[in-house]
Amino acid sequence: MEFDRETLLKLGKLARISIKDKQLDFLSRDLSSILKFVDQLKEINTENIDPTANSLNQNLIRREDEKSNTNNIEDVLENAPEKELNFYVVPKVIE
């Protein structure tokens, strides 16, 4: 797999990372190298093998749904780069 300009810019869009023209060359080289490395898995026969998402052999644990005083507004908003009243502020979305 070679990463051309178009593929890289599309990936950047999907990942919400702006990619500058001067980065295209080394990103293409690096990502191609990584993909080539992981591509060796294609040679392994995994027919009838179930995937492992997580190695813990345990069902999800239930707990009582109790009221607690975590995540209060002050704490949650404490680190917001921009806030107003009890809201996060972002650039205008709707004209």
Binding site: L11, L14, A15, I17, S18, D30, L35, A53, N79, P91
Partner: protein, 491 residues
């Protein structure tokens, strides 16, 4: 008195009142200050640490200790959220982040009376095995090659955690291990590093990298200390649905270094012509040592060992790309302006993440993207099953597996491979363990011909940390590794 102080010794001295917690803390703060060149700490908690030590000394007077380890200072990887103390994951994007809550692991330490000396440098978002991806610059390994002045990497990602313990800037430290990030730096610095079973330790409040692989664990000077610290940090946590319901164990009290009759497996796939002869010799010597101490040596095969690394470099970036989607400049961390919302996201993430983190997010995005999911992510998860099966088969025949921890000793900071895959190969011996979710420990065995530490890795089945520690203790008692680096960093 504080030289080479570990948790066990510190507890003894404090108990006999030969030293106070304030004295210990002040001595370490002094050393940390003198050891600034090593770049181990992102932030030193001088004021808080002294205050906490005073409170501990007060508790000792009043006979109201939180535990027998009350008043002992440790260092904390800058990946654990600490209430009111900047937590950066060594990334620009979190460089101003002050959590309003405490991670379960650090809370458990606080509940035992342990004191934090500060936050330790690491690779950015724990992605790396050199500590060079940190926004705050690389940590330097306290060890240097004999006759050379070149600065060496401490390994990573828990490079600051390992270097601080090796340089005697704290009694012990906390790290995290997603693909070897505790064991590899431990191996590079002559320290003990333990990665617990997946689920043994709560991940709540730890900056997430790859959630199905991440585990926190101790980096220490001795196996005893690893047992103590693991005991303190482990246990079920209702805030982490993947934390295990297995009961907390008394690892330290139950330490038993007898290996008579134990079966130790030597996997042939870890043998390689590229392995330095001194590492091969250390591995052979340890095998013989365990044999003469009464263990039975079993040659075995883990056929999918070499497939673990490529599987890891699909799974870990995939999970990372998802986990790191939260850094969007809206709720916390860095924000870069943009003319609209999307541009603000893109500028923030482009400016806030370093090159390696971006590479992994892009790879992760690619392997999860439409049309590629089955070929990459699902395929890797199936290979993960095969790797897990390898270990299951092995543990039906043996109690534990012995391997080298790393394919090389510490190398020069200036030595930068052009290809990221070259860097990834550092973790070739440690990654299979994370994919299988089992515990492993790296212990220092000897130093090579250039006086650099060689670590060996012991692996056991899930939740058999006690056995792991017992075998490590046996080796430690027999070899009596006492090497310490020259303190070149003290001006």
């Amino acid at each position: 008195m504080i030289d080479k102080l570990n948790i066990v010794k510190a507890a003894e001295l404090l108990k006999k009142k030969e030293v106070s917690s304030v004295q210990i803390v002040k001595e370490y703060l002094n050393r940390i200050n003198k050891g600034k060149d090593l770049n181990c700490f992102n932030e030193v908690s001088s004021t808080n640490a002294v205050k906490d030590a005073e409170a501990s000394d007060e508790r000792r007077k009043n006979d109201s200790l939180k535990s027998e380890y009350d008043g002992i200072p440790i260092g904390i990887k800058d990946l654990f959220c600490t209430k009111g103390v900047t937590t950066t994951a060594s990334s620009k994007i979190l460089s101003n982040f002050v959590p309003s809550y405490e991670s379960t692991v650090t809370q458990n330490c606080e509940d035992a009376g342990l004191i934090s000396l500060g936050k330790l440098n690491c690779d950015e978002f724990a992605m790396g095995s050199t500590n060079k991806t940190s926004f705050f610059g690389p940590v330097k390994n306290p060890w240097k090659s004999r006759g050379s002045n070149a600065e060496l990497v401490p390994g990573g990602s828990s490079g600051g955690s390992a270097a601080a313990v090796a340089a005697d800037l704290c009694t012990a430290s906390l790290g995290t291990d997603t693909g070897g990030s505790i064991r590899q730096p431990a191996s590079f610095t002559g320290t003990v590093g333990l990665k617990p079973s997946y689920g043994r330790v709560s991940r709540w409040g730890i900056v997430a990298f790859a959630s199905s692989l991440d585990q926190a664990g101790p980096i220490t000077k001795t196996v005893d200390d690893a047992a103590i610290l693991l005991e303190i940090i482990s246990g079920h946590d209702k805030n982490d649905s993947t934390s295990s319901i297995h009961n907390k164990e008394e690892y330290f009290k139950n330490l038993n270094s007898n290996v008579k009759g134990m079966k130790i497996g030597i996997p042939k796939e870890f043998r390689s012509d590229n392995l330095p002869s001194s590492t091969q010799k250390a591995w052979d010597d340890c095998r013989n040592l365990l044999k003469s101490n009464g263990a039975e040596i079993v040659d075995l095969s883990l056929p999918y060992t070499m497939d673990a690394l490529p599987a890891y470099y699909i799974i870990a970036p995939a999970e990372a790309s998802s986990n790191l989607a939260r850094y969007d400049g809206v709720r916390y961390g860095l924000r870069e302006q943009g003319s609209n919302l999307i541009e603000m996201y893109e500028n923030t993430r482009s400016e806030g993440f370093g090159d390696e983190v971006k590479r992994r997010i892009l790879v992760g995005t690619y392997v999860l993207s439409s049309g590629y999911y089955d070929a990459y992510y699902l395929k890797a998860q199936k290979v993960r099953s095969l790797i897990k099966n390898d270990f299951n088969n092995a543990f039906s025949k043996v109690d534990a597996i012995l391997t080298p921890s790393t394919p090389s000793v510490a190398f020069e900071i200036a030595n930068e491979p052009n290809d990221p895959v070259q860097n990834y190969l550092n973790d070739v011996f440690t990654v299979p363990v994370n994919l299988a979710g089992i515990p492993a420990i790296s212990i220092p065995f000897t130093n090579d011909e250039n006086n650099l530490p060689i670590g060996l890795q012991i692996i056991t089945n899930s939740f058999e940390e006690q056995k792991l520690l017992n075998i490590a203790k046996n080796i430690e008692e027999t070899i009596q590794y006492k090497e310490v680096p020259e303190k070149w960093w003290v001006k």
